[in-house]
């Protein structure tokens, strides 16, 4: 008797798979419809918090990076390019060292103090449970520095 070795491939969506598995559960429990027990929200949070992102930690990392790069300096147009790149790169490497499963976006704005106003706003379309953002404002006598960090979950 010849055996069919190849399993037939089935085109289906993941939602259909979930539906079918639920129906199979019903069949195996004597045809009564059982709600598939869902993990409670706080239990899920405990599971997720092991890898979730701590904004306070990120804030302290960012503040330290800014201080190290432009701590005691006055605004200098020739150096500002280097400063912003250095701040951003340093922040990114420190954040990566935390070892979390996140993609990062770090932006930095350095502005000279002349009395002008600066406003920044962010709008994000993402998973509000897992993804976070944080903004750090820092100032010295001659300039303002605003650094935003966005952490987007991968898994």
């Amino acid at each position: 008797m010849s055996r069919v070795n190849k399993t037939p491939s089935l085109n289906c969506s993941s939602q259909q798979v979930v539906d079918w598995s639920r129906r199979l559960c019903c069949i195996f429990t004597n045809n009564t419809c059982v709600n598939v027990p869902r993990v409670k929200d706080d239990e899920m949070d405990e599971y997720h918090n092991e890898g979730s992102f701590n904004t306070e930690e990120a804030d302290s990392i960012v503040k330290e990076c800014i201080e190290n790069v432009v701590g005691g300096d006055d605004y200098n147009q020739n150096l500002v390019n280097k400063w912003t790149s250095a701040i951003v790169e340093r922040c990114l490497t420190q954040l990566v060292k935390l070892g979390k499963q996140y993609k990062f976006i770090v932006t930095c704005a350095l502005m000279q103090k002349t009395g002008a106003g600066l406003h920044t706003a962010n709008s994000c379309y993402w998973d509000t449970a897992m993804d976070v953002s944080s903004t750090v404002r820092w100032e010295s006598r001659t300039m303002y520095c605003v650094v935003s960090v966005f952490a987007v979950a991968v898994a």
């Binding site: 000279q112 706003a121 987007v152």
Partner: protein
């Protein structure tokens, strides 16, 4: 599982993020909002927020499924000061990208460096919970 759409971890070429299209979208939105506007310290913070939201909503309608967006809008007053903005990202260079545009006005430097970072989301892989 050949031919199963629900287990995609990379977008198809057609569904990949197109920076040029998004840049045009941003440009139109901002031009419409900021063309005749003067810098008013009381109103500008609200203006920045609503601008970020409207850009985000417009980009959502462009139909990039399976992507998350981050939109950033910066508005500053033109007073002859120096400003420098930079950013770095840790992402998957194959699927993720950004688009930005700058708008300048006589008094209002809608230095709107708005960055749209799209990252592919893997929620479908989780099999519906």
């Amino acid at each position: 599982m050949e031919g199963s759409d629900s287990y995609l971890i990379r977008p198809n070429y057609q569904h990949k993020f197109k920076p040029a299209v998004v840049k045009e979208c941003i440009r139109e939105t901002v031009k419409a909002r900021l063309s005749e506007v003067q810098y008013d310290p009381d109103e500008v913070s609200e203006l920045t927020r609503t601008l970020a939201d409207s850009v985000k909503n417009k980009v959502k309608k462009l139909g990039f499924d399976r992507y998350k967006f981050v939109v950033q809008v910066t508005i500053g007053e033109q007073r002859g000061q120096g400003v420098k903005m930079s950013s770095r990202c840790l992402w998957d260079a194959d699927t993720d990208n950004y688009a930005e545009d700058v708008f300048m006005n006589f008094v209002l430097c809608g230095g709107r460096v708005w960055k749209l970072f799209l990252l592919s989301s893997r929620e479908y892989e989780c099999g519906g919970g």
